[in-house]
């Protein structure tokens, strides 16, 4: 009997031993973030900060490959390992994590930006940077084809440029005119059903005019505007490489552009580091997604996501977390991290550094010029862009049926309108 008991205990001990021990001496601020491309930079920055700051250790965890961040966060909540600083992308995350968002209205960094996130008056989100997208172009190829990107401000101008380039494909060494992907399984659904479609929500409107998107959420979509957008999208599809369009992944999409096999790409300034990595030396810039004849040079610019501080962390941790964000926004070291190391376009006014990448520079210029458009896709319900719009956008690539697309999108919004 005693032998048995000891065996049972030993087995229990064996199991118990393996429990992860939690040790904490310093105030440990855990950051959980989803931008793989800035992982190295922010980890190094957090390390510098921890070394320079007594009693505080900031550790960064990045979700590999930009996988299901919301799901990972839910798992962390379920297992009581919520981070002290995490990210939300907009209203969807706000609604879900409302109870977890600390009020930062009095934080020092708030005074240095207009782009903080405060959907209900109190400031909860720290803009990690500004990102923007449009129709990216390869200036070298356009020049060879005799096209001035500054003239691509209307639908017909863009269309004419596409036709011209398509006719010169062999001469210019192009596979296709534009590099665009829409595959749900290849993980490129967001390129079209979030970003390109944002042109429909925001294009040709004032920066803070959310009427088109508000109406869409009510199930009311302007058929004419949507059809115009659908025709524009179909044009992008028609002038793209079908292998990448329905089959490709992110790597394939940006590699084709970086290797000069396409003249345009539907991406944002976040591809700057990859362009450098892939050895693209040509000049690059953005034109607007022109789906109407109205003149426009606006880009789609907004903070893609916000750092939020976990209101359920201990008060010391919350304070240490806000200090860390202040340091990021307001010190030279923080600016160096944001601009030079992470390659972001900062949302803070005190920053004087210029980002290194061409696309990011184009954003800074566009920002100074004005006439840009906001982002609204982040306000759609959780999973809607990927699971409902994603297949609709992919379907247009296979069947090319604009009318069905317009009906599908309208029905999709009506199904969530209540």
């Amino acid at each position: 009997m005693r032998k048995l008991l000891s065996l049972v205990l030993a087995a229990a001990f064996l199991v118990g031993l393996t429990a992860v021990p939690a040790m904490a001496e310093d105030v440990e601020v855990k950051v959980f973030q989803l931008k793989v491309e800035i992982n190295e930079a922010i980890t190094a920055f957090a390390k510098r900060y921890s070394e320079a700051t007594d009693g505080v250790t900031v550790t960064v965890e990045t979700l590999g490959g930009g996988a299901d961040y919301g799901g990972a966060l839910k798992a962390k909540m379920a297992s009581d390992s919520m981070p002290d600083i995490f990210m939300i992308e907009g209203i969807g995350g706000y609604e879900l994590w409302k109870d977890y968002l600390a009020d930062m209205s009095d934080a020092d960094w708030v005074k240095d930006t207009d782009l903080y996130y405060a959907p209900e008056g109190k400031v909860v989100g720290f803009p990690i940077g500004i990102e923007g997208f449009g129709l990216g172009y390869n200036a070298e190829i356009l020049e060879k084809a005799g096209i001035d990107p500054a003239t691509l401000t209307t639908l017909s101008a863009t269309k004419a440029a596409f036709e011209k380039l398509d006719g010169m494909k062999d001469e210019l060494g192009l596979d296709s005119v534009v590099s665009v992907g829409t595959s749900v399984s290849g993980g490129l659904w967001w390129v079209t059903s979030q970003h390109v479609f944002n042109a429909f929500y925001a294009g040709y409107l004032d920066y803070n005019d959310s009427s088109v998107h508000d109406n869409a959420l009510k199930g009311e979509l302007d058929k004419e505007r949507l059809t115009a957008f659908a025709n524009y999208l179909k044009m992008l599809y028609d002038y793209s490489n079908p292998d990448i369009l329905v089959n490709g992944n992110y790597d394939a999409q940006i590699a084709a552009f970086a290797q000069g096999k396409t003249a345009f790409i539907t991406q944002g300034n976040w591809i700057d580091p990859s362009m450098k990595q892939l050895g693209a030396t040509f000049k690059m810039g953005f034109v607007s997604h022109n789906f109407l004849e109205q003149e426009s040079t606006g880009l789609y610019i907004a903070p893609p996501s916000y750092f939020v501080v976990n209101a359920k962390s201990s008060p010391e941790k919350q304070k240490a977390a806000i200090d860390f964000l202040n340091h990021m926004a307001l010190t030279e070291d923080g600016h160096k991290y944001m601009v030079e190391e992470a390659g972001m376009v900062p949302a803070f006014k005190s920053v004087k550094l210029l980002p290194p990448g061409d696309f990011s520079k184009a954003l800074v210029e566009a920002n100074a010029r004005g006439g840009n458009y906001n982002w609204y896709f982040g306000q759609n319900p959780d999973g809607f862009n990927q699971n409902t719009l994603g297949p609709i956008f992919e379907l247009l690539a296979t069947d090319g049926d604009v009318e069905a697309f317009v009906n599908d999108v309208t029905a999709a919004f009506q199904s969530i309108a209540k």
Partner: protein, 296 residues
Amino acid sequence: MKRRAYLDFLFIFPCVFAFLMVIIVPFGIGIYYSLTDWNGVNPVINFVGFKNFTGMFREPQFVYSFLATLGYTAINVVLVNVVSFILSLLVTGELRLRNLYRAGFFVPNLIGGIVLGYIWQFVFNNVLVNMGATLGIGFLQKSLIADKNTVIWAMSLVNTWQYAGYIMMIYVAAIQSIPASVLEAASVDGANYFVRIRRILMPMVANAFTITLFLTLTNSFKQYDLNFALTNGGPAMRFMGKAIRASELLAMDIYKTANAANRMAEAQAKAVVFFIVLVVFSVTQVYINKRKEVEA
């Protein structure tokens, strides 16, 4: 032998306790949740009756996933068993390297669905497309998993590749238990190879069919890992007037409903339906096979 009740209890306690905590209690909670509006985050849970169950059959993606899963299962049950039966005949014949062959056919089964899924995604999207382009083979130039008409077949192909070796070994075990004298006698009677297989061998391994059909049926029906890593549901297609994902099987639809859309209760209701259908199908299959065994 005298047994002490408390010792007996102590002996079975760990298993029974884990079993209760991990399967029985969650199973009960799950049935309850399927009748509520549980969303996974909100702590307040309201009872809603059968709303989740009636709603799912109006949802094109679910109806499609349901049918696709039945189709996928049917294809697999036939394909896996035909291939593995042929393999088992081949490797029980007088071949030189038969042990090597057995091992080779068996190996894919040791590798997990996630790893296999990525490997085959690579094969379909890169290798075959590449070959199609180089050799000018038309149908290969477009990836088989990017076409709604071929994607389920492509998945079945991978599943067969993974599973056939295992099923083959079960047939091999059954065939090896047949006394050689029986087959010998038949060949002396002058029956040709195929007649011997059909008349003598197949009836004698009837109980192996019960097992293999059961395994392939339940395995295909529950497919998730391979589905996730190979296609993640794509490509898109139109069904009941809506754009949906053409290779999203039931298990994946359940997972996506819960995780991507925060509709936990609906996902749970789908899982309950999934469970009932699976039980009905597998019980029916075993019943039919058992009757056949007796007839044989």
